[in-house]
Symmetry: C5
Subunit: 261 residues, 5 copies
């Protein structure tokens, strides 16, 4: 397994390109360029990302030409924003299918604190068993969500990270809450699993790079970034800058220079 | 798979004859002529449609004589209008059975935005895996439905089309909302999947042909038409007119002449 | 399959003896004579019915001696009147078990319009696939039921008949609503499936025979009768009279003479 | 099957010792002597009961030494009194496991009239199929329960008995309602299945023996007795008295003398 | 099985180290030392505990180096404190996976009195069958929980213990309610299953040792202790003290001296 994990990492760290927003948010995240997934796949290859994150539909219809070029993290569950009620993202792809599609790892979201938490924990538990049976690493999106849950509390994020560890995740993807000092407790709570921070809405380069820098300093192993890359007018430059921080230990200022070349 | 898709298309486009209204709406859509399904099957053959769309019952009891003459899209789920509560159409036929019945593709409806969205996404996800295992194309009826959902909004339709793409559909059937300008965004959101518009209630020929024309111009790959054909007194003429637009690039006026011959 | 269907018919028509009331209504339908199921089995044989309709319990404990003498339609689902809540009759017997018990056909009730409609349609769909796999005909009790459903409306009955056809039923059992003129639309809605009317509470011979006569005239293929036979003091005479109408094309008056012999 | 049934009967009748109260009522039914299950197993052997009724836990941990000495009816479902909500006793043991534990029959409770009736009928239906596949008799605890259900009405008990027959039970265990005259209708409603009455709370010997006597006279095939035996200070004498009535046709007075020896 | 049970006991008694709090309570139970699970695993080995109790995540990621050194009780279900609603801890690991991870026993929590009691009893029932099939002992956390349930009542605890026995548990873990006199009834209610008391929040040594002493005197077979060991500044001394009472029959005062060395 260790070897398989390392296929998705560069010296223990990683930068993933997220392209699973189409199901979660709809096409509103895209413009006339990015609505064409070929464009984003091209960026994934040119930017030499450690992996691209996809729902099975894009994997089926676009990834074939990028096999062996862009490693694939197949997201096994998801939901639309149209769906009402408490947060639940059903499993939409089996581990078996993910393997046939060339996945190097599989992903799943648990909304901890949702009334459907138990259902998602059960689905994930089966996925963990099946994926590890095949030696496939498992990424858990550990997202606190629900009535009375403060999604930005460091303690809550630490709990989500710990729960993910206890459930057998190899990688844990979590929102970064900008608590630069406190976030190391989240990292520690994840034990020896690899903690990654999620990207988020498009914002300016300095803000993105500061987040990545602070999170890396707090001990995270990498970042999954999407909109801030492919919605950017300089996607490969921002990619270089992020990688300079994650892999090269650069400061925010040093990295910003790569964007402003 | 590409080959199998093409079995249902003519140079990349298609006109399907829908005859799955009996379960969804009841016999009120039929008259003394069309209540006899043999009549509609005959039209399907004479009109040389790319496929007929059926629930399994009609496939079991009527399609045998039309095998190899009229390609079959077997609709795997459905519901009656009598059923109360939020929109959910349960799976009523397995992929296996569809294959035994000679299906060239299978179909499934997801009501995006329904409280049962997750359940339908799960059922469809299994169908996608099974059908593609056999090389059978999958058609997704992508219908937004539910509290607070504007079924005619272009953005909502674009989201439904994108969700269908992300779920692995080969063909996406969607309602046309008469937004001639905006509908291209729906088409683009469907990526490289084939987008078809659904027909609807019987209306006059000019209206039908205008819809088909505008949708084709917006980039859709075809139309699934039912009541406007078999409720018509000139079913084969209207069929010719629709085909003239879809396959022949004719204008509405040119096509109308075929009806009024 | 055609052959198997004909095993339950006489020149395309049939008269079935229903004895599944014990579960649905309780023993209140029986008297000191009929509470002994042997008595009713004896009638089934003497009356030369096309089939007897049973839940599995009576089939297990009484039918063995009547195998090859009285064809068996095994009812696979049912419920008690004690059960509260919306109409749902769970599956209580597998197709496999039915076959072991010597069934010549299997039956299932769907309450169209119930909040549990989807569940029943799914259960029936699996039964249809399994039974037809073995060449066993399938009888669907198509009963509209629920808030806002008019169980006696001809349109509603026609919808139920059509839904049953779309679901793949070979035989459709439906309540007769005494709309002598309109009922042909129900028959037509059932397409090429065989439509049977259900019996009902014990009433006088003339009333029963009139219903059977009118329904046959409207085009139904037969009747499933129970209480009006085995609660009668002249069960075999009433049987003869029903058969005279169904098979012999007799009038009500002619048939009544057979009862009053 | 007939043979297997007879293994649990003496000339067609039986007296069973119930020891399944621990799960249903908790240890409050026990005292310092009976809390030790060894004591009750000893009584079962010395009293030469036709069978002992156990949940799987006691069968696993105590019955091994009594195999071939005390026939075993394994109760497959149960619940605690702590569980809130409408009556439902989930299946806790498979037929397979019961066979491994040496069961001579399996038992299951249906609470007819509960909102969970359908669920229990389905679970029981599968058990009936599996158990009979192995030639294992099936005992159904037929207990009416729920809003608007009169558990002591003779008509209700007759319905429960009939429903049990229709579901394929070999033995039916039912509460006796002291309607000495009317109870024969309950017996008749059970058809050719064996009807047993349940015991109940500890009461005086005369009362117990009168109930057993009247029920036998009404036609039942036996009794399942528990607390009135092992909570008694003279458990083997009361056992002898019950057996004198069930097997020996004694009067209450004659039987009482055996207790007061 | 007897042999397998003894692998987890020392002369019929045991002291288990619990480290399953990460999922149930979150990382708040840990400090900068104990957040590193290696530290606690080290204590488990040095303290020579009869077993360590883990969720599968820690077993996957930390236990490998301690195989054959620290016996493993794999907890198969669990939940977070974030999850709303009535108590239910879903199954998160199969018996199969537990065996692959080197488990010497498997554990499961039932919240008796929860509206989800039936679901948990069913899940546990399957686990019991599977685990015993492999000769693996089964530990049941028997926790009363819910509206109107007094979790500290001796009668309620006795009922939970008895229910656990009836369900086939080999070991029963239960909260100790400090009813030194009455607790023997709880022990007796557990029959010939091994009753263990759960630890609890960190408290002073005297209090912990008094609880252990009184429970042992009441007849329990051991204790599962966690926070009072690894949150202690003298974890191995407190371990020695507990073992002196459980295995050596020491008084509280004698044991306290081992802490204060």
């Amino acid at each position: 397994m260790e070897h398989k994990l390392n296929d998705l990492l560069t010296k223990g760290r990683g930068v993933f390109l997220a392209l699973d927003q189409g199901l979660e948010h709809g096409p509103k995240d895209f413009n006339l360029q990015t609505i064409n997934s070929e464009y984003v796949f091209h960026l994934a290859k040119e930017g030499n990302f450690n992996a691209i994150i996809l729902q099975k539909g894009l994997a089926i219809r676009y990834h074939e030409n990028y096999r062996y070029k862009v490693p694939l993290i197949l997201k096994l569950n998801g939901k639309t924003k149209m769906s009402p009620g408490d947060a639940y993202a059903p499993q939409l792809c089996t581990v078996n299918k993910a393997i046939k599609l060339g996945a190097d790892a599989v992903g799943y979201t648990i909304y901890f604190g949702s009334p459907h938490e138990a259902l998602m924990m059960k689905e994930f538990a089966k996925i963990e068993e099946e994926a590890h049976e095949y030696g496939l690493p498992v990424v858990l999106w550990a997202y606190p969500r629900g009535h009375g849950i403060d999604e930005n509390s460091t303690d809550t994020l630490a709990y989500a990270a710990r729960a993910a560890l206890e459930l057998g995740a190899d990688f844990i993807k979590i929102k970064y809450n900008n608590d630069a000092k406190g976030f190391n407790w989240v990292v520690k709570s994840a034990g020896n699993a690899k903690l990654f921070i999620a990207g988020g809405e498009k914002t300016d380069a300095k803000h993105v790079l500061t987040e990545v820098h602070d999170a890396i300093k707090a001990g995270v192993s990498g970042v999954a970034i999407g909109r801030n890359v492919w919605q950017s007018e300089q996607p490969l430059k921002i990619t270089d800058a992020v990688k300079a921080i994650v892999f090269g230990g650069k400061t925010v200022e040093q990295a910003l220079k790569l964007v402003k070349r």
